[in-house]
Symmetry: C2
Subunit: 515 residues, 2 copies
Amino acid sequence: MYFDVASTAPLHPVARQALTAALDEGWADPARLYRSGRQARMLLDAARGTVAEVLGVRADEVAFTASGTQALQLGMLGALAGNRRRGAHLVHSAVEHSAVLHTAEQWERTPAGSGTGEVTVVPVDRLGRAAPADFAAALRPGTALAVLQSANHEVGTVQPVGEVAAVCGDVPLLVDAAQSAGRAAVPAGWSLLTASAHKWGGPAGVGVLVVRKGVRYSSPLPADEREAGRVPGYVNVPAIVAAAASLRAVRAEAERENARLHGLVDRIRTQVPLLVPEVEVVGDPVGRLPHLVTFSCLYVDGEVLLAGLDRAGFAVSSGSSCTSSTLTPSHVLAAMGVLTEGNVRVSLPFDATEAEVERFLAVLPGIVAEVRAPLGLDLPAPAGAAPVTVRGGEPGTGDTGGPDAGEPAGGGAAGGGAAAGGAPDGEAAGVAAAGGGALVLDALGKRCPLPVIELARRIGEVPAGGTIAVLADDEAARLDIPAWCGMRGQEYLGEAPAAGYGGDRGVAYLVRRTA
Amino acid sequence: MYFDVASTAPLHPVARQALTAALDEGWADPARLYRSGRQARMLLDAARGTVAEVLGVRADEVAFTASGTQALQLGMLGALAGNRRRGAHLVHSAVEHSAVLHTAEQWERTPAGSGTGEVTVVPVDRLGRAAPADFAAALRPGTALAVLQSANHEVGTVQPVGEVAAVCGDVPLLVDAAQSAGRAAVPAGWSLLTASAHKWGGPAGVGVLVVRKGVRYSSPLPADEREAGRVPGYVNVPAIVAAAASLRAVRAEAERENARLHGLVDRIRTQVPLLVPEVEVVGDPVGRLPHLVTFSCLYVDGEVLLAGLDRAGFAVSSGSSCTSSTLTPSHVLAAMGVLTEGNVRVSLPFDATEAEVERFLAVLPGIVAEVRAPLGLDLPAPAGAAPVTVRGGEPGTGDTGGPDAGEPAGGGAAGGGAAAGGAPDGEAAGVAAAGGGALVLDALGKRCPLPVIELARRIGEVPAGGTIAVLADDEAARLDIPAWCGMRGQEYLGEAPAAGYGGDRGVAYLVRRTA
């Protein structure tokens, strides 16, 4: 069962047929004037027309790149160069694809005017949504480009593209539509749009860069006459033909499939918190991609969980989609303020069945329990009846852990919810109060999730209202401990130098037990 | 009959098989840890190993790009950035692929140190060969990179890579092996190498960038962890697998096929000058690619000739491979000082047969004659027995037009050869001597090849030793008139302002009739 289409979708049958045909009919150089070259050019033109029609733009606004990443890099740097007269200020949300973040990092080192490029990152709420008002606040007279994804690739939250385009006014907005192209239309108002064919069932090797008429663009790469001067290098006609054919096919199926997958994802969103203790479903429950859901299992290493699911026959993803091999905490989850570890992203292919989803729900609790077993945590038994956790937020806003508690209340930035059930009560020994009367847990030298595990195991050792100081030097703790508090309804007090709590290095993260 | 593999080779059967298999087995994201991802990673690793083995390098020195152009751009800009401490001076030959020239043009505008990047272009001889001594002369203390192709893409001349690498010493040398990879090994000594899979029968969408261990390299693009940080974007595993499989297959066939194609090309090189009047076969007749030959037919528009050959079922190329749609004169032919128009490049696929070549030779004379007919030139009849033209050069070095005269004497830079036969003798009327006693031909406002046609039609109107001034304002005349003189054994005297010859604009090109 392949549940990771957000990484790459299996080749759509239409794409495969079109690829095979185009290898026969469109293999020649479309720049050549002889028959086979003209034939390749005709196929290329037709493919461009198809993509333009599906995206609702003009054919001469569409250029084909080698990947979504290349489309983003060229789109951003080309628009920044073309709009140099406006200034050198770039705005993007905190939860963009890593290609956007890396391009912005390079832009900050690029000479521009008397200094270098400047970047403002727009924050997101706990659902992963960037507010139009925050975009508006980030804009300034020197802003040359704003970047926003159509929907987030890790948690599925749909971004308010239309509203952000409105607040951008005449500042060009680039929309990264990688996760939604072929599935849903992008609201109007943007200036540039990028997408990636292998995300919609097309072949690898094809990205799309749309630059609307009248938008200033200046290629950041050496001159080349292919793709209207926007993308250098030999044009991959057979793959482009396959990409276009599958985009049209997927778009035609999308309405029906979206509804079906939306239901399957709802089932996962509802059931996982009922079946697995201490789990947080993240992302917007309403304004979301139909096929994608992400949840984080407390105390678990995401990679270990993935390995267990792989053995059970499920291919899913974890953390940031493009940095999983480096095990860097996901910048998306970090920006949302939710737990960055124990993270599982499920993204369903068009042919996913209810039976497959049920099977996933059947094996997941056992796999999580198996990974957690060695930790010796006193977790509530998987219920299937009563909720075992709720989305966190400001403590004391009073949601009770009813059957819907695993489902965020929706829409707003401030999630409610107090902790319910399962706080590991301290049967453990070894309580030791220290600096400022706090219980000090020395997790120095321990990698995440161990500091959080230590906190969970031992918070029961202090009375309600008491304080715990977790000493840690793994940077991920800075994200994970506040996120854990938010999720479990404990109060995060802030950080202080570990020295004040007897540590020889690192940071003390201070937590007050509220429940 | 497809005779244009130097543009793109038809997909090799092995590539097609491997692609189909890899679409099944290697479609997943190779960065993922689940089974299908690990499988894609294994296929990618194996493909990298295969390419490394064929190229004689280490697997971790090989990165896959989206095209040969991207490999050249990244290789050049990455090596220049990595060797910034040496300086900002780039050296390349005058006959490199347009991607090299365009990257160099961008580099000249790139801030470096207190100024910008600097570029020195190394000239080539009339055979298109860059001399190691000229490379040596171009190097200086601030040189950060030298670039040389393994063999020229338009005329097939093999470049002295080993000797140039030797004179480069510790200055990194990038070799563009696009035309030779899979066909012949590149002599050792280089630091970076680029190639393009669709030139050897692999699929479009795959380039190769090799950076030898110890060579300084700094990616010019935003950070990305794929391909060892050298090439951003999703890795196209199926196409890479197909590229590697076909490279191995082509390499295994190369020795036999090279010898066979070498013979077929020799046949074209020998026969075309015997069958078509006023034709110049260009490029090195000995140190050349086995499968590629280029000739220029005087007085003919190359595009028109190609259209005629296309109607007869032959796909060939003309002029510069990457600027054919803009009709810019080929920078390669211009740098060689040979005629830039009426140019036909034949590059034979691995399965080209003798019968196909004979058929090409059978239809070519008629097609050329048909295109030339409206010009009213008094050309010698196609012979098939006596040569109708010879390679030009310094007038009076005394080659006679024997049966081998269509074939350049080989090896050296200075081609010999006086004009033989076919100088259009002036039955035409309208002789008018002017400024300085020269016959003035007013070709102002006429596009090439018209000025050369005018010259050829009317040179017979002046006696031997007499001078003709051709007034022209098409820039191509500056290349074509000296090239025509070189080819026809007439003496090119230089240029002067047209005003001295009664022209209201443009340039007067002065020619002395020697024969």
